[in-house]
């Protein structure tokens, strides 16, 4: 099953985002982003599996800055999400 990775430059923003998603019933975890996905180095990601459009709308409504959104395949491959 596809896993969504939303990137954040700040760990604190990732934490706030994960908390918001959790409160909306979207199970989310935080991980360090792969270096290959963080052009500025050392970023964070919020990981979850469903309701991507609702999740992004929530972040925008709450003015939480986020970066690129990726899909991680079962194979471990990352691809920028088509939204």
């Amino acid at each position: 099953m596809t896993q969504f990775w939303i990137l954040f430059r700040s760990l604190t923003h990732a934490q706030r985002a994960a908390g918001l998603l959790e409160r909306r019933g979207i199970t989310a975890t935080i991980a360090r982003a792969p270096q290959g996905l963080s052009p500025k180095g050392c970023g964070y990601a919020v990981l979850f599996r469903k309701r991507i459009n609702e999740a992004l709308r929530l972040l925008e409504e709450n003015k939480i800055p986020f970066g690129q959104v990726f899909e991680r395949r079962e194979s471990g491959e990352f691809r920028e999400a088509r939204l």
């Binding site: 430059r9 700040s10 604190t12 934490q15």
Partner: protein, 369 residues
Amino acid sequence: MIYLDHAATSLEKPQTVPAAVVRAMRSMASPGRGGHAPAMLAAETVYRCREEAAALFHMQRPENVVFTMNATHALNLAIHSLGQPHDRVLISGFEHNSVTRPLHALEAEILVAGRRLFDPEDTLADFRRLLPGVKFAVCTAVSNVFGYILPVREIAALCRREGVPLILDVSQAAGVLDLNMEELGAAFLCMPGHKGLLGPQGTGLLLCGGDAAPLLFGGSGSESREQAMPQELPDRLEAGTHNVCGIAGLLEGIRYVRRRGPDSILRHERESIRYCAELLRGAPCELFTCDASSQSGVLSLRSPDIDCETLARRLSDRGVCVRSGLHCAPLAHESAGTLDTGTLRLSVSPFLRREQLEAACSTLRSCLK
């Protein structure tokens, strides 16, 4: 021992505070410096503390809560963010050296508003008169020397109307006054974590209403390829390893304050000070009190005959801990006319009991003879 120096630092704390410090020391690593369990546990604790602080001050954005070493550090950040050399700045007549010294270092032109103790109308009238044309204003919410509660909501409203950014020093107000960051519209709120918020020493908070400029530069655990500090809060202002043990303790201190409520704590401290003044009525000393609601849990006094340092030493020898001298606030003493003598300051904690006050005041009476 009876501790009446809560305005300097809280000594008695909820039991959860030291327990959290020890737990953090044993189980937590550095937040944002790894994805392993001890680092993530630290990150979770630090974020919870931001959330609790944001909730206490009615802020929507926990990321605008920045950890500092103390209130002085927070005030320096705030003043550095808004100030340029030779700026014209308005301050109250009851500011601490942690405000006036950074302004002097900037060679700011300092205007002083409100020199009359326990006179909010005078303070407000001066702010109204002097605000136009200043670059920013700095105001303490409560005088650390006299417990004078300044009319900060009204001052904040004046600043909003004039478009003047306001830095509030809430060192003696945090945990005691119910302050709403969003309603105040202040540029910054600065406070220690170890006084009214009951956390450990070495902790402080800067609440940011907007952009801020870093004073320290270094690792933030984010955007590591970039040589400039990150643009976003809190990373922009938090270079270097966090004081995770302190923050873990502060989290529990703030939780206690929120459970009990600042209003309830203020009521307790105010009643304690009034009782103290009652117990000292007729004693050979000058008490700095007011009848109205303009005083918190701090009471200054002075003897016409005995130097305040001598008095404090006598009390200390008898197990009563108070603060004497100028309390790092010569401007406040100048305003109140006590610069030459200093004062003896009694300040109470949310845990102080009436019988402790009775014993302390009885000892003080005997020391005044």
